[in-house]
């Protein structure tokens, strides 16, 4: 299979993938020699008229001139017919059935039916088949029209956004006194050249309000504002910026901006819109990373490959929630799976492209990029870096430090207990044992068939198990989540198979049979005994190995051959035999008997003699998804009384022959042990058994066992994230899964690489996603310079209202050009120089005079630069949906500052909006009303629409009216009189006092409302009137437009 990789850097790259084929066909045609006169006559009579009538409209040079060319196919020249279009050569001379053109006119492939509207008459179709069969005679000459955009990557690198960063010095300016930061020189120089002057600085109140909203998404409290205004020091604003950047509210505010870019949601969309319980960890990770000022380059790397950078860790898994946050269908069949997989890859690639690189990578899924220098193959190279990814849930410890502390404490407490037990075993046990053996043992007898095996060690690969004091083993929670993804491997490699490994010791000889009890327990669904919702389990393989306990033994471990004997319950199609058939795709299950104990017994073929010095028996019990919740293992030396049930017949019921409890086994085992040579390894076993007969020993033994059972376990979080999975990626012609062109090898966008992809992909075992992150953040040889430009522009946009590049998600040819290219490169350079830290970048921007401007009504400026591209003013910005809601919560003193955790479902919640649920089918109406994105694609610029339904919400919604009442209460508590309360309302809601005129207007309104409310209780009327006054304040433009 052809591998699309190992590209050499070339000056001009022609991605004409059919070049090879074209040659071979040309050769074929040449071999045929010049077409015969008969062939030409046939063409002229039967083929050419049809081509002209039915095909040229969309497949000719003339069609191309009219912009009507379809599929890149030209049928008006011989070359065009042979070369074919986007879906490959149109004919294979001599082979009509293999020729796309013939298939198309036959309408045999639903995706290519030509002509599209009317099928040609059957005789004409037969003519086409014949024409191909006789070797495609065609006298037409002339070069094939060229539909393909030839992408010249080297030339493409000359486009401004792909060029390396320039290192401009801040320019000289005339009005140097205005300059507060290097940023200002770039701004002012352009203004001076255009004859535009900056606006006067904004008032300190407004500046503080601006900074609070920009960095935290919340208004300053009147007290915070007063503190700021009181401070006379020259660096007062710098201190405020630092304080706000250090606030945990910063990550919540800027995290939300990032979530827009990555189409973050907590559900799958499509049908059923399955909610992803563990999706919010990604949101929390984003907030934490921003608060910690994680370098942006790492921020990006972790989102692409955190699970590979730090496998199995909470941060690693949470970070890669990025890749899989997109929509994904809720019902999939084998028929649609492959297409959906490529849709998913496209979702990941387009999100990476838009959010990180400002590129429309998705445009290259079907063909070469129409505007940017991105060849079709680059898309699939990039897709191949994501090939081995799937999505699902991992269970991880969110706080490993706490877990380690707890484990250390437990271990420290355990040591002295164990030491006391060992001391007893060494100093006391032999004499006591000897005395007991002499005086008490002869009086005991043992007759029961089954003897319970006391587990020495219990573990499972995807769960925790508890060894209970009664010898049973209980499931104590999964450590690996069940994966419900289609296309997952089944059977042997099924990621949901779970294996219990249980070890016990015995000193007896001649083992005849093994017994497994599945015990019902109310803590499991339908009381078990299985963990499935219907109380069943699915045991796919049961195997037992035996090895000598005595380390000095020369005997080899053996696997016991089990003959299925009996099960108490089994479904007809899933009999007990399935558990010992060596086939992991078949299992034993009984789903019609929930809440009832089940059991199985297995005869050991030929019996097992046992080892001198004791035998270690290890049970491997493998389940598919649903394990047994509580089980017990036993053995017997007597043969089973009955033979296994016949196939198809119900299994004979197992007589409940566990008999007289655990002591019976101890006795027999102890006898066997004492009869044999007592090896040192057996001493703990002797202790274990003796403890049942010796009060002092029991106390010590139980203390150790009980304490061991209390060993702390980490609290595992269900994190929705990227999983290992997926499959090879192929290059698809026209993005069609039915048109594969060979396996794609991982690689990157050539226009953003000055060296070969091996630089990041080497050594070959390196995970391609890690390499993707390294390439994207590599400012010297990879995409890092563009990555820096794009993020710097975003930060600028959120501070200034418009990016230096007005299209923040498109830095390609279709996007806007930077208004201040030198400034953009300067800031990008600063970002990289500061170790990709974003907080210093905010400082750099916010401490500029440009940021601190007001909005002067300057007619000359307005005329010379009506769009404010030169930043001569900073107009008021409407708050985003989340900031509007959070500001409401804040002024109403309803805001719950709790951070992180599962999302809350309603607008009425007191949590910040970033913690509200993002379910694709049920977005929070309040937020979407104010332009929150629909979370299906990267959103770089929400816009701010104005709708009457927004006004209805501000006027009538119980949520806003409640806030107004709370604000009234707050203002009144502080003010006392209505007049003072109105002053406070202004301070709380607008960060300023009212003007005289405003005082009068609001005062008059308050009185009028009070009159209208009337009633007998003037105090109540005043409260209501004040709430009505507050409602007007909240509805004003000033409340949601921040100067």
């Amino acid at each position: 299979m052809q591998t699309l990789h190992a590209r050499q850097p070339r000056c001009v790259v022609h991605f004409s993938l059919s070049v090879g084929l074209l040659f071979s066909q040309a050769a074929f045609a040449a071999e045929q020699g010049p077409p015969s006169p008969e062939g030409i006559a046939f063409f002229e009579q039967k083929i050419r008229p049809v081509l002209a009538d039915s095909c040229y409209k969309c497949h000719s040079v003339a069609a191309k001139a009219q912009g009507k060319l379809k599929g890149g196919l030209f049928l008006d020249t011989r070359e065009g017919v042979l070369a074919g279009g986007d879906t490959g050569p149109s004919v294979v001379p001599g082979k009509p059935d293999a020729s796309l053109l013939v298939k198309a006119v036959r309408w045999s492939d639903p995706d290519v039916e030509m002509p599209p509207k009317h099928k040609l008459p059957e005789p004409v179709i037969a003519d086409f088949a014949k024409w191909v069969a006789i070797g495609v005679p065609d006298p037409r000459t002339g070069a094939q029209g060229s539909a393909k955009r030839e992408i010249n990557v080297a030339q493409g690198r000359e486009f401004w956004s792909f060029k390396p960063l320039a290192h401009p010095s801040p320019p000289e300016v005339k009005n140097a006194a205005w300059v507060r930061s290097p940023v200002d020189r770039f701004i002012l120089a352009k203004q001076e050249a255009a004859g535009v002057t900056p606006s006067a600085p904004v008032s300190r109140e407004k500046l503080a309000r601006r900074a609070y909203f920009d960095l935290t998404g919340l208004p300053p409290s009147p007290e915070e504002l007063a503190d700021f205004l009181k401070d006379e020091s020259p660096d007062v604003f710098a201190k405020l910026v630092d304080r706000l950047l250090a606030s945990p509210r910063y990550g919540e505010r800027w995290g939300r901006h990032w979530l827009d870019l990555v189409r973050y949601a907590e559900s799958g969309g499509y049908e059923f819109d399955g909610y992803r319980n563990g999706a919010y960890h990604y949101r929390d990770w984003v907030i934490r990373a921003l608060n910690d000022d994680m370098p942006y380059s790492d921020f990006v790397r972790w989102q692409l490959a955190g699970d590979k950078i730090a496998p199995g860790t909470y941060v690693g898994e949470a970070a890669t929630g990025f890749l899989v946050a997109g929509p994904y269908p809720g019902q999939i069949t084998a028929k649609t799976e492959e297409r959906i997989r490529y849709d998913q890859l496209d979702d990941m690639l387009s999100t990476i492209g838009s959010s990180m690189l400002g590129l429309t990578v998705e445009c290259v899924r079907c063909h070469e990029h129409k505007y940017d220098p991105i060849p079709h193959a680059d898309y699939y190279a990039l897709a191949a870096t994501l090939a081995a990814t799937s999505h699902g849930v991992e269970l991880v410890d969110a706080d490993p430090t706490a877990t380690k502390t707890a484990l250390d404490a437990h271990a420290a407490a355990h040591a002295p207990l164990l030491a006391a037990l060992r001391k007893f075993e060494a100093e006391e046990l032999p004499a006591r044992l000897e005395k007991w053996q002499r005086e008490e043992m002869p009086a005991l007898s043992s007759t029961a068939r089954w003897q319970t095996l006391d587990p020495i060690e219990v573990r499972a690969d995807k769960a925790w198990l508890d060894a209970e004091a009664d010898g049973s083993v209980t499931f104590a929670g999964r450590t690996k989540a069940v994966q419900n993804r289609p296309g997952r491997a089944q059977g042997t490699d099924d990621p949901n198979n779970i294996t219990y490994t249980i070890t016990a010791h015995t000193f007896q000889r001649n083992l005849a049979a093994i017994r497994l009890d599945a015990i019902a327990d109310r803590k499991f669904p339908k009381s078990g005994p299985g963990l499935a919702a219907d109380g069943s389990f699915n045991l796919v393989e049961f195997s037992v190995t035996a090895s000598p306990l005595d380390a000095g033994s020369a005997e080899k471990p053996v696997t016991l051959k089990l003959v299925p004997a009996q099960a108490r319950f089994a479904e007809k199609a899933m009999p007990i035999q399935n558990s010992v058939d060596g086939n992991r795709t078949t299992g034993w299950r009984a789903k019609d008997n929930p809440g009832v104990d089940n059991a199985a017994a297995f005869e050991i073929a030929g019996g097992f003699p046992g080892f001198d010095g004791g035998t270690v028996i290890t049970f491997h019990i493998e389940f598919r998804t649903d394990a047994i919740g509580r089980l017990r293992l036993a053995m017997t030396n007597s043969p089973l009384p009955a033979r296994p049930a016949e196939n198809g017949k119900p299994a004979a019921e197992i007589p409940d022959a566990l008999g007289g409890g655990t002591d019976v086994q101890h006795l027999r085992d102890l006898r066997a042990m004492l009869d044999a040579k007592l090896v040192a390894a057996a001493r703990p076993d002797a202790m274990r058994w003796m403890s049942r007969f010796d009060c002092e020993g029991k106390a010590l033994f139980d203390t150790v066992a009980d304490h061991a059972r209390q060993a702390p376990r980490p609290k595992l979080s269900e994190v929705y994230t990227t999983l290992q999975g997926g499959r090879d990626v192929f290059l698809l012609r026209r993005g069609d899964v039915g048109n594969k062109e060979g396996k794609a090898a991982p690689g990157f966008l050539q226009v953003l690489a000055t060296t070969e992809p091996g630089r990041w992909l080497a050594p070959p075992e390196r995970d391609p996603r890690v390499a993707l992150g390294d390439w994207i953040a590599d400012a010297e040889h990879g995409a890092g310079h563009l990555l820096a430009r794009v993020i710097v522009n975003r930060v600028w946009k959120y501070h200034f209202g418009r990016g230096i590049v007005a299209t923040p998600n498109d830095f390609g040819a279709q996007g806007a050009r930077p208004t201040h290219p030198e400034l953009l490169d300067f800031l990008a350079g600063e970002l990289i120089r500061s170790g990709w830290k974003l907080k210093p970048l905010h400082r750099l921007m916010m401490l500029s005079a440009a940021y601190q401007q007001g909005a002067d009504a300057n007619a000359q400026n307005q005329q010379r630069d009506p769009d404010n591209k030169l930043l001569w003013q900073r107009p008021a910005h409407r708050l985003e949906a989340e900031a509007i809601r959070d500001a409401l919560l804040s002024v109403g003193e309803k805001l719950d500052p709790k951070m992180f955790g599962p999302a809350e479902g309603t607008v009425e919640s007191a949590r910040r909006s970033v913690y509200l649920r993002v379910r694709r089918s049920e977005l929070i109406p309040f937020l979407t009303l104010f332009d929150a994105p629909d979370a299906t694609r990267s959103m770089g610029d929400r816009g701010a629409t104005t709708l009457p339904t927004q006004a209805l919400t501000m006027m009538n919604s119980p949520f806003v009216r409640d806030i107004a009442a709370r604000l009234a209460k707050r203002a009144l508590a502080k003010g006392g009189t209505p007049e003072a309360a109105i002053d406070h309302m202004f301070q709380i809601a607008f960060s300023r006092l009212p003007s005289g005129a405003e005082r009068t207007k609001f005062g008059a309104y308050f009185s009028r409302q009070k009159e209208l409310i009337g009633g007998t209780d003037p105090k109540l009327a005043a409260e209501k009137a004040l709430a009505a006054t507050c409602l007007v304040a909240l509805a004003t433009n000033e409340f949601i437009y921040v100067d």
Binding site: K117, Q814, T928, D934, D941, G943, M954, A1028
Partner: protein
């Protein structure tokens, strides 16, 4: 063609114009716009103002009756005697990739009685006794097909042009392209009972500004529009006083920020909201209709109550200038094991299912056509009927039908369509696949836009670096289904 803009690229109005707008309020603005003084500034203040179409529209409004769950073409409008004859025989060309589940590969005849109706002699199955009387007003497109073979992707494809979510729906595009004539009511209204599979994604505004999003009326809810009604404790006088103060302070605020048109837009939005509080309940008040009208729509009958109300409300909305209405037909009377959110989904028993769904929708849909016609509204209102795909001609199980994206019938009536019971396109002799004049959803969309006066190739929106179209890179105008010459 008007200029389209992306958020953040609005051109600011001049100070003089701005003050005029604030001073004269909405009325003069709307008037100015209608008098063709359609500046970008006006659009910045209210992007929903009516916009001039590309050419003279034939339809002013659209009512799309979406038969959620996908009716079977061969049991409704696409009569196939061959299928009746070869019941139980192997279906030639049966393609196992078609359905969502597994089908038998054996022909399943339509269990319904078929008769010809109207001048056109159109064959109609007996589940539509009422609609059958209107066949001569309809134009049938029998050759619809699409890609998605499950409800959500197909419904998203049928509404938004492609089967992955995130693109704007037809209604949002139309609203973006044409604005609306009645500012007191939403321009784009969706009505549903239980939400169809795919939920809001089906009628999403996608990447278009939220201005163009649908208002969804949930038949199960008492209050049709969130926060539409004034709070109980507040009187009109109180609210009016509040709005007067609000206008006063907002105007003062805007006057010192003369370059910001969005401030004026928001001032107007409160006045619009105030009027909407009266206008919207009035428009939705189907109870005020005559008893005869209510009876016509089947209101008061258990089977037809919900869909009847929705159809009647649709007519009332059209009368009041609402541009685009989509009704997702809700549950039938049940009895075949189908699910409420996909009522027409007759996997188990096509007869029981389609009888029940027919009984719930036939009379109201027919009433809508009759009512629109008698009021002279049918000529300017495009009524569309259809589901998200068709169903298999072979059986699923013994008496059910699986999904079939290769063929389904959509009919249109009024709004400049050809009518006369004209049949466009055809399926094969079993109704299994469209074979003649195949119509993809892009073609359907191009035609709908055309009827509304919009050129589907010109209606574009720049998003993430690309000029998007409803019809993406496809779309052929179906000239034959349009009345007269074009």
């Amino acid at each position: 063609m008007f200029s389209h803009h992306t958020p953040g690229e609005l051109v600011l109005p001049t100070r003089r114009k701005f003050l005029q707008q604030v001073g004269h309020g909405f009325g003069s603005l709307a008037l100015a716009a209608m008098l063709n003084e359609q500046t970008r500034a006006a659009a910045a203040v209210n992007p929903l103002l009516p916009r001039r179409p590309d050419f003279t529209p034939r339809a002013r409004a659209v009512i799309w009756l979406f038969m959620t769950g996908a009716p079977s073409q061969v049991d409704t409008w696409d009569y196939k005697p061959e299928l009746q004859k070869r019941h139980g025989q192997v279906l030639p060309g049966s393609d196992p990739q078609t359905g969502f589940f597994k089908t038998s590969g054996k022909c399943l005849k339509s269990p319904f009685g078929w008769q010809q109706h109207g001048q056109s002699g159109t064959w109609v199955s007996d589940i539509f006794p009422n609609l059958a009387r209107h066949v001569d007003d309809m134009t049938f497109i029998h050759s619809c097909y699409l890609k998605g073979n499950n409800h959500a992707p197909a419904a998203i494809e049928l509404m938004c042009g492609t089967n992955v979510p995130g693109r704007p729906s037809t209604g949002a595009w139309v609203t973006y392209g044409l604005g609306t004539e009645n500012q007191n009511l939403p321009a784009f209204v969706v009505m549903h009972d239980r939400k169809p599979r795919g939920d809001d994604q089906i009628w999403s505004a996608g990447f278009l500004p939220k201005t163009f999003q649908a208002l969804a009326l949930d038949a199960r809810r008492k209050e049709a529009i969130d926060n539409l009604l004034r709070a109980k404790e507040e009187t009109d006088a109180q609210q009016r006083t509040a709005l007067d103060l609000l206008r006063d302070v907002n105007t003062a605020h805007a006057q010192v920020r003369p370059t910001q048109a969005d401030l004026a837009a928001r001032i107007n939005s409160f006045e619009l909201a105030y009027r909407m509080q009266t206008a919207a309940p009035e428009a939705l008040d189907y109870q005020s209709e005559s008893e005869a009208t209510k009876k016509l729509y089947g209101i008061g009958e258990k089977n037809t109550e919900t869909f009847g109300r929705q159809c009647l409300i649709a007519r009332r909305l059209v009368e009041r200038g609402v541009r685009y209405i989509q009704i997702f037909a809700g549950k039938g009377t049940g009895g075949d094991g189908s699910v409420d959110d996909v009522p027409w989904d007759g996997h188990n028993n096509i007869e029981a299912n389609h009888r029940s769904c027919g009984a719930a929708t036939d009379q109201p849909a027919a009433a809508l056509l009759a009512d629109l016609k008698s009021r002279g509204l049918l000529d300017s209102t495009l009524v569309i009927w259809g589901g998200e795909f068709g169903r298999t001609s072979d059986a699923q199980g013994t008496v059910g039908r699986d999904h079939n994206p290769h063929a389904f019938t959509t009919w249109m009536a009024g709004g400049g369509t050809r009518g006369g019971g004209f049949h466009y396109g055809a399926t094969d002799e079993f109704g299994y696949k469209a074979v003649e004049n195949k119509v993809h959803v892009n073609d359907l969309h191009a035609t709908i836009l055309h009827l509304l006066g919009l050129d589907h190739e010109k209606l574009t929106y720049r998003y993430n670096g690309r000029d998007f179209r409803l019809t993406d890179v496809g779309g052929h105008l179906l000239r034959e289904v349009i009345a007269g010459d074009i």
